[in-house]
């Protein structure tokens, strides 16, 4: 059947062996783009007329926030694939995505807070976007805590996948409600820089950073997934053979 590729995709062994080949390239590309983006954003992009140099935090803040949100969907979709097609690999990817997403959400929150101090005069504002990010952070922590609470691995996989899916249904509702709540409680003067009016000389480094973060995410997700695969599959024959060839002792 032509579905074979799909099932091969679900095999941890296939993924582990294939990813060994492209992992260094992925890492190199991510680091290259990030370095270019950071140097460009920190040193060569012009100063913002209103915010001064503090706006340079945007080059980390916005990509981190992008990936924090996208990461939740990646986690939930892999969980759903695992639940529907019972694929081992997709549960591993889901578990690997949870801590990465949580860290990126934390980065987005932290950089946002530090950016807020010179811009708004305070570290924390209950702004719609910040509040949504905070709730996203809690959602990630919930998935992580639940997946770790089960003694049986498969139950933890399925339960946290289901929770991630429930969270996915909720995210748009949470975002809309927080947005509405914010317009109710705050005057509309506290606005971040509108991304649509950003000058090209500031925008290109931002695009570079966003691309770099996507590659970085793919790289780190692969790294975490590989470590988890080894941890789960160490009893299997293929892992033993893999290790056996490296230790080179055969009778």
């Amino acid at each position: 059947m032509s579905w074979q590729w799909f099932h091969r995709l679900g095999s941890p062994r296939w993924f582990y062996q294939k990813s060994s080949a492209w992992l260094p390239w992925l890492g190199a590309a991510a680091l290259l783009l990030l370095t270019v983006g950071i140097v460009w954003g920190l040193g060569f992009a012009p100063e913002d007329a209103k915010q001064g140099n503090s706006y340079r935090i945007i080059y980390i803040h916005v990509p981190a926030a992008f990936l924090a949100l996208a990461g939740y969907y990646i986690m939930a979709i892999s969980g759903a694939i695992g639940l529907i097609w019972k694929m081992k690999l997709s549960f591993v990817v889901m578990r690997a995505a949870a801590p990465i997403g949580a860290v990126l959400t934390f980065v987005a929150l932290f950089t946002g807070a530090v950016w807020g101090k010179p811009t708004w005069g305070t570290y924390w504002v209950w702004d719609a976007r910040i509040t949504s990010m905070l709730i996203l952070f809690f959602l990630y922590l919930g998935v992580m805590a639940l997946s770790g609470a089960f003694s049986r691995e498969q139950s933890g996989d399925k339960a946290s996948a289901l929770l991630a899916l429930v969270g996915t249904v909720n995210i748009p509702i949470i975002y809309k409600s927080v947005d509405w709540w914010f317009t109710l409680h705050q005057p509309a003067t506290l606005k971040l820089t509108e991304a649509s009016t950003i000058d090209p000389s500031m925008f290109y480094p931002l695009i570079t950073m966003i691309a770099g973060f996507y590659l970085f995410y793919a790289w780190v997700l692969t790294l975490h997934t590989r470590a988890l695969i080894l941890q789960r599959e160490w009893r299997t024959q293929w892992v033993r053979e893999l290790m056996g060839t490296s230790s080179a002792a055969r009778g």
Binding site: N53, S54, I57, V107, T111, F216, L223, A227, M243, G244
Partner: protein
């Protein structure tokens, strides 16, 4: 169009008074990202070592058992 925006390294570090904020944000973000790379890499390394150790142990045990059974064929196990 592309030129360095600061006249000196000190100016670059100070960022017109916004230095602490910018550098704190970048520092923490880069630290967190480095951790995202290092944690699975080190874990992978530790796991590989652990699995290799177990594989070797089992192999040695199997060989010892084989050696006990076949007492007269020893030369190939000499390594």
């Amino acid at each position: 169009m592309m030129e360095f925006q600061f006249d000196s390294l000190a100016g670059f570090l100070a960022m017109n008074g916004h230095g602490p904020y910018v550098w704190a944000a970048y520092g923490v973000a880069l630290l967190a990202m480095a951790a995202l790379v290092l944690v699975p890499t080190l874990r992978q390394k530790a796991l590989r070592a652990e699995i290799a150790r177990r594989v070797r142990q089992e192999e040695a045990r199997r060989r010892a058992a084989q050696g006990a059974r076949a007492t007269h064929t020893a030369p190939e196990l000499a390594d």
